[in-house]
Amino acid sequence: MEAYISAIIQGLCFSSLALGIFISMRVLNLPDITTDGSFTLGAAVTAVMLAQQIPVYFILPAVCICGAIAGSITGIIHTVLRVHVLLAGIIVMTALYSVNLIVMGRTNIPFDEGFFMSNIFGDSNTWITMTIYVAVLVVIINRLLLSDFGIVLRALGSNSTMLTANGVNTKALTIKGLAISNALTALSGSMIAQHQQFADLNMGIGIVIIGLGSVIIGESLFSFFKSQVLFLKLVAVFFGALVFRVLIAFVLSQDVNPNYLRLITATVVLAVVALSYKKKPAID
């Protein structure tokens, strides 16, 4: 049982990652894999600032800003230098590995304190803190995507010609979109570090698949709504993150060697993708 509770808290921590991936892969339609680097960056910044006794309401914005900078760099490489976004992401992700090491000073930093997030509400109850945190996040992103900025951002993935013809600087918009996506990813890295009580240089490796898996699971689970309401889509992505963690916790509870974790993760994502494609008509 404890494993499942931990899985759900992890899911809550991963929900901002899932929302970040939703923005890059679904809204912007860009396969951005800066993720692996910006996730660890969030954890690294958290670890270092925490060691300096900096209060949490400074740490979280700092984490977001660092993630946003990472995303912007990928965006600039992609739009200004016209490098394919996949390659731009790999370049920044690779560079971030060293940046993260420099920030941390070593490969692993343990935290004395657990969920410092809990201090915000003067309550040590992680559940309440995380639930409020995720709810606020979903509401903010929903509001953002429904604003004029959000409408234009959602158009970017499917028709940039039309946007240019309507006076939108699509390059700047792409950069902003990737900044938001990676800010959310970094936030997720910070949450996971708090949950596991350490930051590790390698914690981001392959993390993009967790975000993508959450998005795909969320979309499949909630496809029966057949709703176009954006808020429901975001909630679906959030639940996708939860279900994904629980699913993995279940597999691990079957006495599986933990070394197989990544293999299992990849398989779960593949299975969901395969199943969800079967439901859709071939042309889409």
Partner: protein, 252 residues
């Protein structure tokens, strides 16, 4: 006043596939003109639009609108002056957004002080509903339908209405009726004429339809191999009836 001086556009310059799509083209257009553009496939009409709007790079030449050197501007910046209705109805609208959201993007075009966190307000919905009802399109109650769920013709007609959401100096229409059934085509043409009568706008209208070319506009340009072969205004244009046009194209 639009003043185009010697513009050229070359695609794939320096390769075996080099295409000189526009060659040293010059043109002056008075304010409030309705210019009809004819020409065979590949004669450079769409490229001409792309050069004006900045989506195609010009090799040389200058473009002035009211003495502003707009060839030095970015494509997105030029959109303050231009509105486009694309040849392909899919290009003018965003499939994944609702009708109202598409209108919102078009309305934002000339907003100078952008409060980016505003969104679709009730007042805006009402305004769009009025615009659509007035046009006669039976879509006023489908503002929340996804654009992708409408037919190509409906989308094309909406694109034109979207163009009216913000002021502009020039409307460029690239075969707007090519994909439409006769009724929708009539709607688009009527809407175009209404816009032309009611606002101080210049219209460029590309067509392959000779009847449209004869009946619409006060100036006729016939493109051939990236150049303007025929330029006829007002009474000169009226001399270009169906028979003469067909004759010209048959000669090649």
């Amino acid at each position: 006043m639009i003043n185009i001086e010697n513009i050229s556009v070359t695609y794939n310059a320096g390769t075996a596939n080099e295409v000189k799509a526009l060659q040293q083209l010059s043109l002056q257009v008075l304010p409030k003109s309705f210019v009809v553009l004819l020409g065979s496939n590949g004669s450079g009409k769409s490229t001409f639009f792309n050069a004006l709007s900045g989506t195609a790079q010009i090799d040389s030449g200058k473009i002035f609108i009211d003495n502003q050197p707009i060839h030095e501007w970015n494509a997105y910046k030029r959109s303050v002056l231009f509105t486009r209705v694309f040849q392909n109805p899919l290009q003018g609208t965003v499939t994944g957004l609702s009708v109202i959201e598409n209108f919102r993007i078009a309305a934002l075009r000339t907003h100078s002080s952008k409060n980016i966190f505003a969104g679709v307000s009730t007042a805006f919905r009402k305004k769009v509903q009025e615009v659509i009802s007035e046009s006669g399109l039976p879509l006023a109650n489908r503002l929340d339908t996804l654009m992708g769920n409408l037919s190509g013709g409906q989308r094309q007609a909406l694109t034109l209405l979207m163009a009216t959401m913000a002021d502009c100096k020039v409307i460029m229409m690239d075969e707007p009726t090519a994909a439409l059934d006769p009724r929708s085509a009539e709607l688009v043409i009527n809407t175009t004429q209404k816009i032309f009568q009611n606002s101080p706008v210049t219209i460029f209208y590309i067509t392959h339809n000779m009847k449209e070319a004869v009946s619409l506009g006060n100036r006729l340009l016939i493109f051939k191999e990236g150049r303007i072969a025929i330029d006829a205004s007002d009474t000169e244009k009226q001399k270009w009836d169906l028979q003469r046009l067909h004759g010209w194209f048959d000669e090649g």
